[in-house]
Every structure is written in C-alpha cells, then in structure tokens.
Amino acid sequence: MKDMMNELPGIDRVRGRFLEMLEQRQSAIAGHALAAWDGQTLEDINENLASAQAVLHQISGSAGSLGWADLGKAARECEMEIIAHLEGPDADLAICPGELINHLDVFVTNCREVIAAQRTPVEAE
C-alpha cells in the first residue's frame, strides 16, 4: 500500500517486525500443516488446520497494509480454503485434503522468498 509507506514515518520498523514474526509464523503454519497431514484423528486434523488458519488470518490482515499485497492475498486464499473445509461436508471426517496441504506448502515457500528477498535485497534484484 503506497500511502502507508509514504505517510507513516515509522512504517519501516513495523515492516521489520512483521518480517521477524513472519519467520515464526511460516514455521508455525508448516508445523500445523504437517501435523494435520499426519493426523490420525478428526481432532488432530481439524485442530491443526484451525491453528494454521488463525496464523494465516493474522498475515492476511497486515501484509497488504505493509507493502506485501500478494502475500496477504495468498494468505487469505489459504485461510478461506481451510474455513471452507472446516465448515464443509467433510468436516466431520478424518480427512486432510492433499490439495489444501499443497497450497499451504506453496504459501510457506512464498513466505520464505519474501523473507529472503528482504534480507538480501541486492541479490534478490
């Protein structure tokens, strides 16, 4: 969001903090996705998916305002996919959709790319 970047003097500090947290958050999403995929019971699967959704929700809420609109949009899409599963007809079955895990995997990779690009801006260019 251009206007945030131009109008808020302390925005760089918030962006830095977002990246620090993104490091933890992407690893939390990966952990929950793996646990859901390996889960044997309905509770294991759905609770881990719900936890991943909560982290995705936080990323989707702030990434766009801090200049990472695509990352925010991707987080929102994954979040909606999890909500659709948890509120859908398969919600009471111990099933973890492979496609959903695949999308989470792509999202985690996106997060790592964003973090890497900010750490080494010259190389990323």
Partner: protein, 323 residues
Amino acid sequence: MRILAVDDDPIILELLCQFIEAVGDHNLSTAPSAIDALEFLESNPDDVFDCFLFDIQMPGMDGIDLTRKLRETSRFADTPVLMLTAMAEKRYIDNAFAAGATDYVTKPFEVSELKARLNTVEGLLEARQTRTKKIFATQSLAEDVNTVEIFEPISIYDVENVIDYLAMENYVAQLSKQSLFGSTTFAFTIRQIDAFHAALSAFEFYSLIQDVAEIISDTLVGRQYLMSYAGSGTFVCITESGWRPDMQQLMDAINLSLARTELYNNAGQRLQPRVSAGGAIRLVWKTGNSVMEALAAAHASAEEACVAFEKSQSKYFELGQTA
C-alpha cells in the same frame, strides 16, 4: 478522540500506533484481546473513550461479541465502534452491524480510508452531543418547544436490530460490494408526524419514536433484518434470507400493536400513532450507489403512502376520481 483498539495481531496494533501518531489529535490505547479490553475498561471506570477499533476474529471472545457486550452497558451504549477486520463476507458484516458496529473497514486498510472513517466518527460525535443536549435539556425544563428538528435521524438504543442511521449508511456501503440476492428494503412512516412534532417536547418526541421503533421491532421478530430511524417519522429496514414482506399485512400488524399499546405524553394525554408502509424493493443486482438509491426510494414510498392515507381521510370525496 480517545480511541481503544483491540486486535490479537501485535503488528496491526503497532501499525495503528504509527497511524494515530501520524494523523495526530487522537490518543490511542490498545488491548491484545477482547477479555483484556473488558478488564481494562472495568478497572478504569473513569476513562472515557470516544471510539473503538475492533478486530473480528480473535481467540476467546471475538470482536462482534465484544461489541454486543459493550452495547449492553450504559457507559458504551453509543460509543462508535469501527470493525477493522479481514473478514469481508456478508455474514460477518450483518452480524457486526446487528451487534452495534458503527462502521466496517476491511484489512488491508489504507491511511486515507481510516482517516476518513475517523473523521466521520468525529462528525457523528459532535452532532450527537448537540442533539442529546437538546433532548435532555427540554426534558428537565419540561418545555413545550421542540428543539429537535423533525428531519433529524435520532439515535435509538436498546431496541433489537435497530441501528444508528450512520451505521445503516455504512452497512449499505458494505452491502453494495456483496451479492444481494435475498435482500429487500422497505420503510414505515408515522402518520401526522408534523403534528406530533409540533405538539410534543423534544423528549416526548424522542420517546414516541423509540416506542414506535420497539413495536416495529417486535412485529418483525424472528426475521433477519436491520432497521434505522431516518428522520421525519420514517423507519427504513433491510431484510435478508429471501423474505419478501407483505407490506399491507405488516402495516396492519404494527398498527394493531400500536393501538393496543398505551402511549402518553407528559400531560397524561394518550398518543395514538399509526404508520403507513411503502413498497418492498428488492436489492438483487443492485450495486454501489443504486443500493442507497433503493433505500431512498423505499423511504419516499412510505412517505407517499402516508400522504395518500391522510388525503384519503380528509378528501374522501375525491376517491375513485380519474383524470
């Protein structure tokens, strides 16, 4: 303004701190959860807040329940609440406004947008302060003069599904971005509102509007709807879930209920308000400004029905005449 922001994401709270620092003139407090916010407000009973910014999805209690809880208290019954959320789906929007939200901003937000929304809140607070002073000044002095203008959209509290007119406008603005397949708007106007306004004090007039709102709300119970008093005796409603109201039947039910309810002015004289209903206008395939225009059309149609009714009472000899 003194603002309290509640969000479980520390990044959003930091962003809001930066935002408030940049726009100036405001004082921001933050809480990381609804429970923390309630504890903070309880332990600081003398703190006055002019505006709340609430996230919806939070662990424990969500922002909608937090709004509902605050609206139950006299302290924050009318403090503007802006939902600041990533949840753009209609069910969240409906629930937020029904719980008492004043406005709804979707994340990611922009500085200019948030600034504009806070300016609107400031304007609302100023207008409300002036109006409240007028209403309660005449109550204590028992003056006969009505100092509240007839066209003012008075805020009504404690009536189920009745929201402030500004909140209704904001709700409509949000609706205009959604699919409105099952939505319909309609309105009721209190007959002879000019006469009531001229005869009653500001407080009596306010009480009359509140009582009629309560009766309409009771009549609509069990339906999914939001209603707002738009001024000049007119209540505008938006209903969901595909319900197409039979306006004649609804009007009769409201008038029957009004006839059974004993309403009095301060002098002990009985007031016998009745309403006229306009047409029900479906909002399907309407977007942007046309949703607000449909609301205005429903409003106008109720006022026209009111005029037609009054004409039919006084100029019955013209009935059935054709040009």
